[in-house]
Every structure is written in C-alpha cells, then in structure tokens.
C-alpha cells in the first residue's frame, strides 16, 4: 500500500488535465488542514461529551420536570431514598401506595452476575490458557475466530435461546416448575461473557514475555507448572481485568436477562427461583410507565445506579490494566 502512494507522485501519468485536477484537489484538501484538524480534535473530545451527556440526560430525566422551558426539581423531594436503597418491595403500580425498593432487583442482578461468573470465569480463563499456551497455528486461529463469532451473537437471540431451548431443558432435567430462572439466565450470561474473558485473558497471557516461559522450562517446569506458577502470577492483573470486564458485561446485559430470568421482583432463594435484574426492570416497565410520573423517574434513577455500577467496574478494570502497563514500563 505504501508503494501505491509512492506511485501516485511519480510523474508518469498521461494527461496534464488529470494531473492539474489532481493537484487542485490535493491543494484544496491541504488547505482544509486547519478545519480538518479541528474536526478531528472535536471528534476526539466527543467521547467525554457523550459520557457526560449520558449522565446529564439520564439525571435530568430522573430528577427534573421540564415545564414551560424551565426545569423544576421533582423527584428530589418526593422519593424516599432510604426506602429506595433498603426496601425489598418493588411495587410501582400498587393502587394503595407505590413502593420503589430496589434491593430485590439488586439481589437479582447480583445473583445472576455471581452465578454466571462462577461458570464463566473458570471456563473462560481455561479456554484463554488453552488458546494461548496449548495450541498453535491453525487450531489457535480457528478457536479464536469461533470465540469471536460467539461474541457476535445478539443478546436478544441469546434470550430467545434461553426461553425456547434452555428453559424446557431445565424443566426436564431439574423438575423445576419453571424454566426461566436464575440458573437459565446465568448459563446464558456465562456464554455471553465468556468471549470477553477469553480474549482479554488471552491478550494478557500473550503479554507475558517469552523469556519467562523459557526460563521456567529450562528449570524443568512442565507446561502446566509454567502456566500455574509463572504465567498466572505474571498476568494476574490482566486476568483480573478480564474477569471484571466479564462482570461489567453481565451487569449491563439487558435483553437476554429480561427474557431468561423469569421476571419476578424478589430475592431469589435458589438457582431455580425466578429473579429480576435492574436492567430488565427498565426494559420491561419503561414502555408502560406514564411519562413524567414517579415510576418513570425511578426507572431513570435505576439507570443512574446501573451507570454508576458499570462505571465503577470499568474504572477498576482500567486502573488494574494501567497498573500492569506501568509496571512493565518501569
């Protein structure tokens, strides 16, 4: 490709009209340099703008009413924040008294996330080790491509698989009366978050210098000992980041969990109990909540909680990864 650029400036093109036109275009493009550079700069800054905008707009919808072009604070005064964070009762449409306690929803998110990670982390890290250390060439490429394709399957399809395929299977195997429950959602979520864990985990194992492996093997370590005694300690930050990114994905996943978790706002007592997560609650109830009402605002507030949760997880993952890089440079 570099050579084609060299070819472009060689003066062997026939036709001076074309050449002069080309020069004209080139000079116009070059004249635009300041404009283009400013556009590039603005685009670069857009990421910050969007993060702030997401927070601002969700926050505004949660807490302010727009009336006659002025913002009136509304939810601040009305919502009982103690109840919001400590009550188990999520009854947004109760006729007697609406109650907005998100403990049950948090418990649902927690149960599904933890269970799915219990499945996904060992499998994902195992697969990362296998792909990175135990296979070479074609096999490695093929496995990486398969895992990449695994990541591409849309979440709504995963949800559909959970309801239509896994649900009946769970009923058959466990004898539980319902197939959509914590177990179902966790299995689906595990399969969904594994690709992230595998690819980030594999990257961090790849980042360990080969000299570490060679030194360990020269001392007589078997491959397993190299993995267990050398690679895991050396790559532990990257592996931790992989796990955290998997957790972030599991917390934020919406459609699959909405379809596969059973959708019951309660603290799940076991794997076969249905549950409901923060994300699923927003997705399911936003359509019915009257715009501007308390229910509607509380859903946005849940959005802020989610935003904060994933922000925290991603921030930790980022700091952990930066930690590795700093150490390697130093």
């Amino acid at each position: 490709m570099a050579s084609s650029n060299v070819a472009d400036v060689r003066p062997n093109r026939k036709g001076s009209a074309f050449q002069s036109f080309r020069q004209l275009v080139d000079s116009v493009i070059d004249a635009c340099e300041p404009i283009v550079e400013w556009m590039i700069r603005l685009s670069g800054w857009s990421a910050i703008v969007f993060v702030l905008a997401i927070f601002a707009f969700v926050f505004a919808q949660a807490f302010f009413v727009f009336e006659n072009d002025s913002m009136i604070p509304s939810l601040w005064t009305k919502l009982d924040f103690v109840e919001f964070f400590t009550s188990v009762k999520w009854r947004p449409t109760s006729v007697v008294r609406e109650q907005y306690g998100i403990v049950a929803l948090l418990a649902g998110t927690g149960a599904v996330t933890v269970t799915s990670m219990l499945i996904a982390v060992p499998l994902g890290l195992g697969a990362a080790v296998y792909v990175s250390e135990f296979c070479h060439g074609k096999t490695k490429e093929t496995l990486k491509i398969i895992i990449e394709l695994l990541a591409a399957i849309p979440s709504v399809v995963w949800g559909f698989i959970g309801v239509a395929v896994l649900g009946p299977l769970i009923i058959d195997v466990t004898g539980s009366p319902i197939g959509v429950n914590v177990l179902n959602a966790s299995l689906i979520l595990a399969l969904m978050s594994v690709p992230v864990i595998v690819s980030v985990g594999e990257d961090s194992l790849k980042a360990v210098p080969d000299s570490y492996r060679e030194a360990a093997e020269a001392l007589g370590a078997s491959k397993w000992e190299v993995v267990y005694r050398v690679l895991f300690p050396a790559a532990k930050n990257g592996l931790l980041a992989a796990v955290l990114l998997g957790v972030g994905r599991a917390i934020g996943e919406t459609m699959a969990v909405l379809m596969a978790s059973g959708h019951k706002a309660q603290i799940p007592g076991g794997l076969l109990d249905p549950a409901r997560t923060l994300t699923a609650t927003i997705a399911a109830e936003m359509g019915e909540a009257p715009r501007g009402g308390d229910h509607y605002r509380v859903l946005f507030l849940i959005g802020i909680v989610l935003f904060a949760l994933t922000f925290l997880v991603n921030l930790i993952a980022d700091v952990v990864v930066k930690g590795i890089k700093g150490k390697q440079n130093g």
């Binding site: 490709m1 570099a2 070059d30 340099e33 283009v36 550079e37 556009m39 590039i40 700069r41 685009s43 670069g44 800054w45 857009s46 990421a47 910050i48 969007f50 993060v51 905008a53 997401i54 707009f57 505004a60 499998l123 195992g126 697969a127 080790v129 296998y130 135990f134 496995l143 895992i147 394709l149 695994l150 591409a152 399957i153 849309p154 979440s155 709504v156 399809v157 559909f160 698989i161 239509a164 395929v165 399969l191 595998v198 078997s222 491959k223 397993w224 000992e225 917390i251 934020g252 919406t254 459609m255 927003i282 997705a283 936003m286 946005f300 935003f307 994933t310 997880v313 991603n314 980022d318």
Partner: protein, 431 residues
Amino acid sequence: MADANRSQAGCYVVHSAEKGTAGPNFQRFPTMEEAVSAVAGQGSFNGHQQPSNLTKSNNSLVIAHLSNEQSDASQCRPRHRFYVDTHLLGSGGDGTERDPWPDVPTAAKHILSMAGDGKLNLRPNEQIVIESRKMFTATRLEKKKMRSQRIAKGVFFCMTLSLVIPVFAILGYLFVQAWPALSWDFVTLNPKRMGTEGGIWAPLVGTFFLVLMSLLMAAPVGVMAGVYLNEYAKDNWFNRIINLAVVNLAGVPSIVHALFGLGAFVLAAGMGKSLLAASLTLSVMTLPVIITSTREALAAVPKSFREACWNMGATKWQTIRTIVLPNSISGILTGVILQVARAAGETAPIIFTGAAIFLPVEDNGVGYWLPYTLKSEVMALSMHLYTLREQINNAPLAMQYGTAVVLIGLVLSVNSVSIALRVYLRSRKKW
C-alpha cells in the same frame, strides 16, 4: 526344558561390560536359567557375588548363546534388549526403555518367567542385552510431569470444548427448528397479523436502515476520534480522561444508552420515537468500539513511515492522509464492519427510541424498498424476535426460530466478512 536346551548346542555366556573394568569379564553356563540366575546374583559368578548391578549409565549385561569353542560374545546379534534403571523407586516396569525395571534381580525374575513361557528362545549367536538406561530418557518424575501436563492440556481442552460445543449444538438446533419456516417468501414478504403470518421483510429493511444510519454517523466521528487519540493527543491528563471516557462509554449498559436516547434525542431534541433517534442512540453505542479499533489499526502503522513522510516535508495532516490512513484502512474497516453486526443485533437501545412492534411496509413500489423516513418508527429484526416471543401469544414457533436464524445468519455473515478481510489483508501486510 532340559531337552530343549540340549538341542540348542553350545553354552550360555554372561558377559558384563562395566566401565573401568579391564578385559573380558564373562563366565559360561550350561543353561540359560543358570546364566540368568547368576545375573541375579543367586548363582556363582567368577567368585563375585554379582556380575553387575547396572548402577552406572551405559553399563550392560549380555547373555549370549555361543558354541563351545567361541568365547567372544561381541559377534552375536542382540535378539532381545531390556532396560534397568536403578534410580527408580517402586517395582513396576516392563523392561522397555520408556518403562525400565528398577533393578537387576527384578529383571532376572522377569526374564526367567518369560523364558519359562517360551518367549525367549535364543538361537546360536544371539544374545539378550540388559542395559542400564541411557541418560536423557524420561525418568519417572518426568513422566509424572508429562502426565500432569497431558491432564492439564486435556482439562483446558475440555473447558474450551464446553464453550464451543453447546454453541454449535444450539445453533444447529435453532436451524433445524427454523427449517420449516425458512424460504424466499419468509424473507421477502411483509409480516401480517402482528407478525404471526407472512414474512420478515419490514423488520429486515428496518434493521438495514438503522444500521446504515447509525454507521453514517458513528463511523466518521469514531475514525476521526481514533486519529486524534493516536496521532494528535499528547500524553497529558486531559487525553487520559478521554481514554477513560472511551473505555467507560464502551462499558455503559445498552439499556442506559436507551435511557440516554430517550432523554436526549426523543424528548429533549424533539425527534420523537423515530428512525433518526434510534440510529443516533445506536451510533453513540457503537462509537467507542470504532474509536478503539481505529486507534489500534493506526498504532500498528510503524512510526518510521510517518517519520519518513515528515522528513519529505509533509505536514501532519498530509502524512495522515497519504501514509497513515491508507496503511491502516483494513484495520479501520474491520472495526467498522464489526459494528454493523453489533448494531444489527442490539435491541435494548431501540425499544424506546424508535422500534415499532408492528409496522408493515407497502407490498410493492418505492415503499417496498424505501419504506421509512427519518421521522417514522421502524420495525427491526431483533425487536421483531423479542415481540414474537414475548409480546404475542400465538406466534408460530417456526417463525420465531426462523427470525432468530435470519438474525444470526445476518450477524455472523457480516462478522465472517470482517474476519476474512482481516485474514486476507494480514497476509498481504508488508511490514
């Protein structure tokens, strides 16, 4: 047994070759049994208790079948070769090089029992060699390690398989279930009666427009942001915050993007539920990944390319335009194409921002191909699958599976194009 030995005329000689021992060190025996017993240290052997215990490397014991006149066993052909390794613990082994016997008496015992079974029949001028094991062959410790390594590899392989197999099984199952519904008509016909009849044309077109619009907005901004971060940004606190913002934007849950789209585009900007609002939401969602992949692609272009260009007198922008972008276009394209698949599959961000539950297009004419305006709501394939499964009670199963299979097929084929492009371009890479 005695008859058999007599019929093989001659005598048996035990020959011990030990390092540091001068001269031939051998003795004749009338039968092989006696020779072997002498090896084991039970008979007499030149007055010594034992010919050799094979404790050192490269020692050997030879039991040769010779005629009476011969005294040199070196002319004999080895017929059987056994190994002994006195450094081993335990009593196992079968005498092969991989799994030797632990000491000479054990070897003798096994050889005797084999001779008793008639497995060892030495013809004249043949010999049995018992060697101490050579160096650099696997010891039991190494074998234990190799075994644990094999086990580890097997376990990791099973872990990988347990990820890969269910997926293929599920995809296969979906395809089989969807088979009755899949036909050309299924793809090209409008959905009827809330999607329970007809095909999936309207959602398919809707998804196409959503993806197209979102990419038209996200790709330029994302690529330019990637250029900024890789080419312009210096390593200071401000750009570190931008990096952090990109990382976190990528981690924001899709449902929060939906809330943002609802608050910002649908309500604040007054777009209403529309194709425009939905694709803007999708483009904000896909932006960080495009930025990251563009950045990686740009970072892969060697620094020396840029330096060479600067030395020719080119400005920064000229360098980027003529050298950096052309050399990284493959990586950038790969990243953008991957986002096509992601945008096509997302459901949560479009539920409140523009996806219609049921909105068939015209059956022919312009409305068949260009049914949606920027202001109209659209159907989308992912939303259609959700609707068929969760919102409508009596949608035929085959149609649900069919919609899922078409969606997966769409996404996976777009991904495959991206992967193929990457593999092809990587093979042509010049640096």
